[in-house]
């Protein structure tokens, strides 16, 4: 096991706030493991415990068989960490930042250039620019380069693509896939569901607990009800009417449509009729396969 966490608990403010509540999970070598959950679920605290920046109140955790308390120096030498907040030196240039991190890990850019080559080539035209003046996407690419430059065994990425444009996000994840091929284990948290499905396994966190751990496919397949999508130009009005329907189990706006489930099996016609009776005629109702986001919303509700 590359990462093993058992019964980790972490509280703040003298035990009054439970950031992490008795969490256990394991991550295998070469796996991309995703942490998904709303703000305040405890993801960042978990990252900090695993990177030895925080001490857990109780429980044990190991990274590459190094204990996070006893062997903290080994972990600090051997892992790569990208905090949620941009944490490079804004007044140093791209190249200076990379050089600095390479040197303090006692390596050189040349030595591990093959690891970062694909991303670094994208930011290389700006290598003399100060890191603070880079765009959001380029900042994250640079931060990834800095976290990778010493060839870590595990990469900890705390919301690496938050606030980054979609093209850069895709490039970033292409990069992670290549790193996975090089057997680097990656623990990553993300608020984006399209990224979540790219992980090998996912853990859904809420209020310091893990609700479920599984592959994206199985999580999606576990969705218990038939899901309907309603498309209309009067989303708000229809949404309210569906919520007032006696049989409605859940109903929420999802992109440009409304996702709705019912307590008892039903079909498109029944729903269309109910809505047209209310005066909404210009709409389509269809059965759809749930996305991973639907599954999560379902789980968070229960």
């Amino acid at each position: 096991m590359m990462i093993s966490v058992s019964h980790i608990t972490k509280t703040y403010n003298k035990g009054t706030i439970h950031a992490i509540n008795d969490i256990s999970f394991e991550v295998e070598k070469g796996e991309i493991f995703g942490l998904i959950g709303p703000d305040g679920a405890g993801k960042t605290s978990l990252f900090r415990i695993l990177t030895t920046l925080l001490l857990a109140d109780s429980g044990e955790a190991k990274v590459n068989d190094w204990d996070v308390v006893k062997d903290y120096k080994k972990i600090r030498n051997g892992v790569g960490y990208m905090p949620g907040r941009f944490s490079l030196y804004q007044d140093l240039s791209v190249e200076e930042n990379l050089n600095f991190f390479a040197t303090i890990f006692d390596t050189t850019i040349e030595e591990n250039y093959h690891l970062i080559k694909d991303i670094y080539e994208q930011i290389e035209p700006f290598k003399d620019r100060r890191a603070g003046k880079l765009s959001g996407g380029m900042k994250q690419k640079l931060a990834l380069c800095c976290a990778l430059i010493h060839k870590p065994v595990v990469l900890f990425l705390d919301e690496p693509t938050t606030g980054v444009d979609s093209v850069s996000r895709k490039e970033f994840w292409d990069m992670l896939m290549k790193l996975k091929a090089q057997e680097i284990t990656i623990l990553v948290s993300t608020p984006y569901m399209d990224e979540a499905v790219l992980c090998d396994r996912l853990a859904l966190m809420q209020e310091g607990k893990i609700l479920t751990i599984d592959t994206p496919e199985k999580i999606r397949a576990s969705y218990p009800l038939q899901l309907f999508a309603v498309k209309t130009n009067h989303t708000y009005k229809v949404l309210n009417e569906l919520r007032n329907y006696k049989d409605t189990e859940s109903c929420f706006a999802f992109g440009d449509s409304i996702h709705v489930t019912f307590k008892t099996p039903t079909d498109e016609k029944t729903i269309s009729k109910y809505l047209s009776d209310k005066g909404d005629t210009d709409l389509t109702v269809e059965k759809i396969e749930p996305t991973i986001e639907d599954s999560f919303i379902q789980m968070l509700k229960n």
Partner: protein
């Protein structure tokens, strides 16, 4: 070693790329030394005085010439009535009047005694004392040189000698104080921000998850400021010697050595503040409030520590600049050697080691 070197280089880049801190680092010492050395000096220069000569003989003319030749006074020589003099005093136009009565030379020749009246505007007592002292000196000087002294065996010649600062120059008094103040402020303020800045910007988080050791971080944070402060020291010394006409009487190497020691003490104070502060602002305020006032009040260059109540004197003993001020006065102004400042040096060394050790032990290797 290579890591440390790269880290120190990075710290230099931080300093040189931040215009504000750069301005403070080099602007502050120069402004302070010029301000304290010139503008705020209590030295008398070109004081406006009037010489009212009712005698107009050879002796009075010679004395007048001597007074005019002195750079302390700006002499107006119109013969003025008592009323005119009084009006001029009241308006503050003149600081002093020197009045030679009629028959001055004759009186001196016959009765071996003549009186010159010196009236000073004592609303500023310091200036009044200083100017009358100068005039007395000039007249005494005339007595001695003109050979008239032999003709006046009964005359008492007041011999006032201002030790170490015969001309009551402002510079010598202020320079050691300003050196203490400037080095203390620059070192403490700059370092106090150095480590807390990384905490605030989040870079400490990345830095901690690396092989770097706390001692390395501290050393690389302090080195740039040490070097810059030594440069500052030389700027201050050069300015003092060239502009303020200060003569460094003691051994220059001893002076530099003691100054570096004091710089190290100040750096450790900044380090201590930086490690304990949560935000850059808190660190700044801590070093401004916590260091500026005690340094100004308790160092001894504005108010003599010996005259303070006992509790204040004890408190003053805790202020590093107080010891540095003593050292620098002894070495720079009195020309004494290491044997007379070893005690003060030892105090500074102990303070430095103490603060540095505490800081190193309190350095957080985790985020809480």
């Amino acid at each position: 070693m290579r890591q440390l070197f790269v880290f120190i280089r990075k710290e230099f880049l931080h300093v040189f790329r931040d215009r504000k801190s750069l301005l403070m680092l080099f602007g502050l010492p120069i402004t302070q030394i010029v301000l304290f050395g010139f503008a705020l000096s209590n030295e008398i220069k070109d004081s406006k005085i009037v010489i009212a000569d009712y005698s107009r003989d050879e002796v009075t003319r010679k004395i007048t010439e001597k007074i005019e030749a002195s750079r302390y006074f700006d002499v107006e020589e119109n013969l003025q009535s008592a009323q005119q003099l009084e009006a001029a005093f009241k308006k503050g136009k003149i600081k002093m009047a020197v009045i030679f009565p009629e028959n001055f030379a004759e009186d001196l020749l016959h009765s071996k005694k003549a009186t010159v009246q010196v009236i000073a505007d004592a609303s500023d007592p310091n200036v009044a004392t200083a100017t009358t002292t100068y005039i007395t000196q000039i007249i005494n000087d005339y007595n001695m040189t003109s050979g008239n002294a032999s003709m006046q065996p009964l005359q008492i010649i007041p011999e006032v000698r201002m030790l170490y600062n015969p001309e009551l120059k402002g510079g010598p008094n202020f320079v050691p104080g300003v050196m203490a103040l400037v080095l203390m402020l620059v070192c403490t303020m700059m370092t106090s921000v150095a480590i807390v800045k990384e905490k605030e910007l989040g870079t400490m988080e990345v830095l901690l998850v690396s092989p770097f050791k706390p001692l390395d971080i501290i050393i690389s944070k302090l080195t740039p400021y040490l070097i810059i402060s030594v440069m500052n020291l030389f700027i201050i010394l050069i300015l003092s010697v060239t502009i303020l006409d200060l003569e460094i009487k003691g051994n220059i190497f001893l002076l530099v050595f003691e100054s570096i020691l004091f710089i190290l003490t100040s750096l450790s104070i900044g380090l201590f503040l930086s490690i304990n502060a949560e935000t850059q602002q808190a660190a700044m305020m801590g070093s401004m409030m916590g260091m500026m006032l005690p340094t100004l009040l308790l160092t001894g260059f504005m108010f003599p520590v010996e005259n303070m109540p006992l509790p204040m004197q004890w408190l003053a003993n805790l202020v590093p600049s107080r010891w540095y001020f003593i050292i620098i006065k002894k070495v720079m102004l009195k020309g004494l050697g290491f044997s007379s400042v070893w005690k003060e040096s030892l105090i500074l060394i102990s303070m430095t080691i103490f603060l540095f050790t505490i800081s190193l032990r309190k350095f957080k290797i985790r985020l809480e």
